[in-house]
């Protein structure tokens, strides 16, 4: 890791601030300095959103876990329950795995309406059914009023990896093509538009969706040519490409005009001073694939309902500083960087 990526935390007097949860460099630094140091093992060290490992009885499994603290808990296009399924299913699917089983752990604030809890659980059940996974174990905790905000959900998931597939964030090579599965920024803008302190109305729905079906089609189309996949959640496409550049020790060059962004999302971002490339997605993926398989892969993605707007947006290049560079629609060049600090807290 370069020095600019990793910084020392002040463990004596420092405190956690909101930037440590924002998915940017500050969070990467927190994970490096505190969690990796404490837990250190070779699987964690891979730095993926899931761990992939051989099982004692043969074959490979993946495992992942995620906490959901989204505010508001009901938002246009989804709720905390469906999101808690989609996010975890997607983290498994990004390793090329077939997601199988999920756990669900609820931390509920005293006074939370039972009707809302039922609505969330039903939505969660429906999302699991649609994604073809079972929620097979769970836990329920209640904390005093004021000690949580409504409900927080944590899910873990396991899945199995088809033979011959070894997707990982460190597999991108110069010359590989970068593909996104659809429009960027929908989830973040949908959440933002429903926050009470922003009186801003759009028809934008969150893209929250389980991507395992799309991934299955992609694996069938590109097989071993597929290097890696990742879902650009917090920090958006910009954070994901920067993470991947560092993990794979390459640079990326992307072309702004090729990145699908909905007009309403672009307009909302314009008004709010956000860059859609920094805004979270919950139903999109970034894939890096060998150049020779890229066109066929995009074709296959476009025939899946969750990949109709799939596009090749650029390629991996040699770059010892791991820059993500973009040719702007205007014709100039610029870096696409991690966002510093907090953009939208509690987006997922």
């Amino acid at each position: 890791m370069t020095k600019t990526f990793r910084r020392k935390l002040d463990l004596k007097a420092g405190r956690v601030d909101m930037s440590h949860g924002a998915g940017g460099r500050a969070m990467a630094e927190l994970i490096s300095s505190i969690f990796k140091d404490a837990f250190g093992n070779e699987l964690l060290e891979q730095g993926n959103d899931q761990a992939s490992f051989p099982t004692p009885v043969g074959g490979r499994m993946v495992m992942t876990t995620d906490g959901y603290v989204v505010s508001p808990i009901f938002f246009p296009g989804g709720d905390i329950g469906s999101l808690a399924v989609h996010g975890t299913v997607n983290d498994l699917a990004m390793a090329g795995a077939k997601p199988l089983y999920l756990s669900a752990s609820y931390i509920i604030e005293e006074g939370f309406p039972l009707g809302d809890l039922k609505r969330i659980a039903d939505s969660m059940g429906a999302a699991a059914k649609a994604a073809g996974v079972m929620i097979v174990t769970g836990d329920t905790k209640v904390v005093e009023r004021g000690k949580a905000d409504g409900v927080f959900i944590s899910t873990a998931g396991v899945g199995v990896v088809p033979e011959g597939l070894a997707l990982s964030g460190d597999q991108a090579r110069p010359g590989d093509k970068v593909i996104v599965s659809g429009s960027m920024g929908d989830h973040g803008v949908a959440i933002m538009s429903s926050r009470e302190n922003l009186t801003f109305e759009t028809e934008i729905l969150s893209d929250s969706a389980a991507l395992n079906g799309l991934v299955e089609a992609m694996v069938a189309a590109a097989g071993p040519h597929l290097r890696l996949m990742r879902d650009p959640t917090r920090g958006g496409l910009a954070a994901t490409l920067n993470e991947l550049a560092h993990q794979s020790a390459v640079g990326f060059r992307i072309i702004e005009d090729r990145i699908p962004i909905k007009r309403q999302v672009a307009a909302a971002c314009e008004l709010l001073g956000l860059d859609p490339l920094n805004v979270a997605n919950e139903g999109k993926l970034v894939a890096v694939v060998a150049a020779e398989a890229a066109e066929a892969l995009v074709e296959a993605m476009r025939s899946h309902p969750l990949g109709t707007d799939a596009a090749i947006i650029g390629e991996a290049v040699e770059d010892d500083q791991h820059f993500v560079q973009m040719t702007t629609g205007f014709g100039g060049g610029r870096i696409v960087d991690w966002l510093a600090g907090e953009q939208l807290p509690r987006i997922c």
């Binding site: 020095k3 630094e29 302190n197 610029r334």
Partner: protein, 384 residues
């Protein structure tokens, strides 16, 4: 997006770049200052530098309200926020500005102070209304563009009879700062600034009009072009400056005719005159104390003045001596000239304010343009 995309059109940009390239004299160089951080941001974000001839240099000016606010004023805000009865409302940009003692508003918030990020001065009014037992202080910063909204907030508070609302006023003035830059004496280790013209901020002129800039054309023979913030606006304004220089003219021209009127916005000007008056002097990061360069609340509105309500006395605070924000804000140095740039000073751990705001010259270069100084960066990292 209608009325936006038209001004970001790549084909038109290439056409305009060709016109600029054809009109600049190859045997001389051109140096213009874009005063405003919004323009700096646009230039970096859209890669405008790549479209300009090599002999046209853009100098990034001090027009970033977050960047020019001295540390002492942030310290004041933190002291206010630490008071148990105070809720401090601030624009998000200010949260991470480094203050004395390794503090920032964000760290003060993590340590328990009640600090809220707002998008508008009226959000602060709403917070005051819904929290009658809290003293809500609005941390007002910005140039002439954000001054009228602060005045509106004050008048709204007055009309609603809100007793728990006050303003910590840090509004500053564009033309005064421009003059300070032109009047600045060169120092032994910093070259004089050879600014040949200014790209002027159109949102400021939407309020104050064009007349306050006439002095630069008349007394300093510096052309000023009031420019919009879309990339084609900026490029066209640069072309207008090139033409003035080539024709040895010095005039105040308006590129942003779709919103800026010569006389500005009379209603906004009158409202600000009613509420604010000039401070005798105000400390600017990079420029030092500049007489009559900032606003405070008039005595008639002293009730709403947080400096009076909480007896704020700003203590001077030293910048990090290695930080080049001052020279960068004056246009005498470029971000990559600072040895902290990209080593200890990055947007995550900013040392100077130019690295904090997205409109700051250092943040813009780091976030969008540092691939251009790749060698320098690598050299700096190796030596650090």
């Amino acid at each position: 997006m209608k009325y936006v995309d038209e001004y970001r059109d790549g084909d038109k940009a290439r056409d305009l770049a060709a016109v600029i390239a054809a009109e600049v004299h190859p045997d001389r160089s051109y140096a213009f200052m874009e005063f405003c951080g919004g323009h700096t941001h646009a230039i970096s974000r859209y890669g405008i530098e790549d479209l300009l001839p090599k002999n046209v240099r853009m100098i990034h000016g001090p027009g970033c309200p977050v960047c020019v606010l001295p540390i002492g004023r942030i310290d004041d805000a933190i002291r206010l926020a630490k008071r148990s009865e105070v809720t401090l409302c601030t624009y998000a940009d200010l949260m991470r500005v480094p203050a004395s003692g390794g503090l920032s508003l964000m760290k003060a918030k993590a340590a328990g102070s009640d600090i809220r990020m707002v998008y508008s001065s009226l959000d602060a009014i709403r917070i005051a209304e819904t929290n009658p037992d809290r003293q809500v202080v609005f941390f007002a910063i910005g140039f002439e563009t954000t001054t009228p909204p602060t005045a509106v907030a004050l008048k709204t508070a007055e009309a609603k009879g809100l007793k728990n609302f006050s303003i910590y006023c840090n509004h500053v003035l564009t033309p005064v700062a421009m003059r300070a830059i032109l009047e600045m004496p060169p120092t032994p280790d910093e070259p004089p600034i050879a600014i040949e013209g200014f790209v002027g901020p159109s949102h400021v002129s939407a309020i104050i009009g064009m007349d306050p800039y006439r002095v630069f054309a008349r007394d300093y023979h510096k052309p000023v072009v009031i420019s919009g913030f879309e990339p084609l606006d900026v490029m066209y304004s640069i072309l207008m400056l090139v033409r003035q220089v080539n024709e040895q003219r010095a005039e105040v021209e308006n590129q942003y005719i779709r919103a800026v009127k010569t006389e500005g916005n009379r209603v906004a000007i009158d409202l600000c005159d009613e509420v604010f008056e000039l401070r005798d002097s105000f400390e600017w990061r990079g420029l030092g104390a500049v007489p009559k360069s900032a606003l405070k609340l008039r005595d008639a509105y002293a009730f709403y003045d947080a400096e009076k309500r909480f007896a704020v006395e700003t203590q001077p605070a030293e910048d990090n001596p290695a930080c080049e924000c001052g020279a960068i804000l004056r246009g005498q140095k470029k971000p990559a000239d600072c040895r902290l740039f990209g080593t200890v000073c990055t947007p995550e751990t900013p040392t100077g304010a130019c690295m904090v705001s997205s409109e700051g010259a250092c943040a813009a270069h780091w976030t969008y343009g540092r691939f251009r100084t790749r060698q320098t960066d690598a050299g700096l990292r190796r030596s650090a």
